[in-house]
């Protein structure tokens, strides 16, 4: 009997168990896929936010441009700092005008003198933002220092909770799926116990006996990962059609490179398919191992 015929036989004789098995494993791979996607998106968002987040130091009107540029030079020497940008009063007015282009009355009442000159400072690490802000505050000539600490910290906290919940769920479902493979194959082996014993006694090698069982395990697991991948990619296609993440996702660690949601999901799909193969192989290999002892 070929491996395919054995799979067909198991399906016919163990309909409920087989479908429950595939359903459980499909949910597992779907949860795993969604979890990986969430990790990717949150990492991507975090990288983007980190890139955008900066400390802005506003200067008093009587603090000269030379002094500000001198401070800029000093800050640029600091290893913790990635970039320092000087925004003069004129630059500030230009930015203000761009933002409020549709408010001509407001623009008329504003002149460059009202707006303060500032330094925009980006740090290499997010945690250094607060330290730099605190170091800058007491400096002579600085009127105020601002940075959006709360947004980043809150996002990081939420992301950490998502990681923990996602990781726990994935681990739990992986365990359930592994058990599902083991139970299905044990049921099969118990029913086929005499046949396997006879095969061994007439000279079948361990490989011959375990081959169809391992094939079955891989089939169940791989089929489930294929279904999960199809669902995940379909979701990505729908999201793309709805123009969600239309500008693409920033690569974690390389935020300037953007990739499309479909491509990210397709890559995650490949990871899921490989996980399906691995889970099926390990589950069935371990199940059949103890039956090959005689």
């Amino acid at each position: 009997m070929s491996s395919f015929e054995r799979i067909k036989e198991t399906f016919q004789k163990e309909k409920v168990l087989s479908f429950a098995n595939i359903l459980t494993m499909t949910i597992t791979f779907l949860v795993l896929g969604i979890f990986m996607l969430i990790v990717f998106i949150s990492q991507s968002t975090l990288s983007y936010l980190e890139q955008q987040t900066q400390v802005t130091a506003f200067f008093k009107d009587d603090f000269s441009e030379e002094s500000i540029l001198a401070l800029k030079g000093t800050l640029e020497q600091d290893d913790r700092i990635a970039e320092v940008e000087y925004i003069s009063k004129e630059d500030a007015l230009k930015i203000f005008s761009e933002i409020n282009a549709d408010e001509p009355l407001l623009l008329e009442s504003i002149s460059a003198n009202i707006l303060p000159a500032s330094l925009k400072i980006r740090t290499k690490k997010l945690e250094n933002l607060k330290i730099i802000a605190e170091e800058l505050s007491p400096n002579e000539g600085i009127e105020g220092v601002k940075f959006f600490e709360d947004v980043i910290v809150k996002f990081q906290k939420i992301a950490n909770i998502v990681y923990i919940v996602g990781f726990t769920l994935t681990a739990m479902f992986l365990f359930v799926s592994y058990s599902a493979i083991v139970i299905t194959l044990r049921t099969y082996i118990n029913k086929k116990g005499t046949e396997l014993e006879i095969l061994k006694l007439v000279g079948a090698s361990n490989d011959y006996v375990q081959r169809p069982i391992i094939t079955q395990g891989i089939f169940f697991s791989f089929t489930s990962s294929v279904i999960a991948t199809v669902l995940l990619v379909s979701g990505a296609l729908i999201a793309s059609a709805l123009r969600i993440f239309r500008s693409g996702l920033a690569m974690p660690f390389l935020p300037e490179i953007k990739v499309s949601l479909i491509l990210v999901t397709a890559i995650l799909g490949i990871v899921l398919l490989l996980s399906g193969l691995l889970l099926g192989y390990l589950g069935s290999k371990n199940t059949v191992k103890k039956y090959l002892e005689y």
Partner: protein, 246 residues
Amino acid sequence: MTQNKQLVFKNIRKSYVLNSVPKNRRGEAEDTPVIEVLKGVSLDIYQGEFAFLVGESGAGKSTLVKILIREEEPSEGEIYFGDTNILEIPKQEIHLIRRKIGVVFQDFKLLESKTVFENVAIALKVVDAPEEEINEIVPNVLNMVGLLDKKDNYPHQLSGGEAQKTAIARALAHEPDILVADEPTGMIDPESGDQIMEILENIAERGTTVLMATHDQDIVNKMQKRVIRIHKGEIISDKEKGHYHE
């Protein structure tokens, strides 16, 4: 005897530890009760001979057969098949020795969902023999045991004798050097038993060594072959052309 030794059993011992060990008041196990099924069996089987291993139920015959095909492990001893100590073969290579030793069991051990032809063919399929070879060998061995006309029958459509003939055909399919039969007539009627013995005798005449464990006195006395008598795990007699009680 000038023939070559094909199988050499050296000091085979097999003990079982009883699970239900009596315990003292403190819950500690007292003397561990051990049952010695084989007490140092040493035996030579020669190439091409037909030998009976006789003895009452529980004498240790089946245990010796199981140890020979590594279905069970002995507590001590060596079994040489040619120059190879069977008991030292790694577990993952046991199938190689099982392909050289054909075994026939008292309960036939046939696959109920397969026809006679398929049951015999399974011995060749497990060695990945090509279909042409299977289609050539299986009818030959079925013809040898007189069962070619039943090749499409399923085991439940066979008599005990026919089922045992199928098992013999399966054991012969990969031309083993030795055929070991464990009580092959134990579950069949006397007439079928005689037919089975005739087949086994023919097999031995073709040069295959036959070792048969049995407690069927009539068959042993009728066949006039070597008789090795085992009693309570020990060989107590070994006679050429012997009788059951000698």
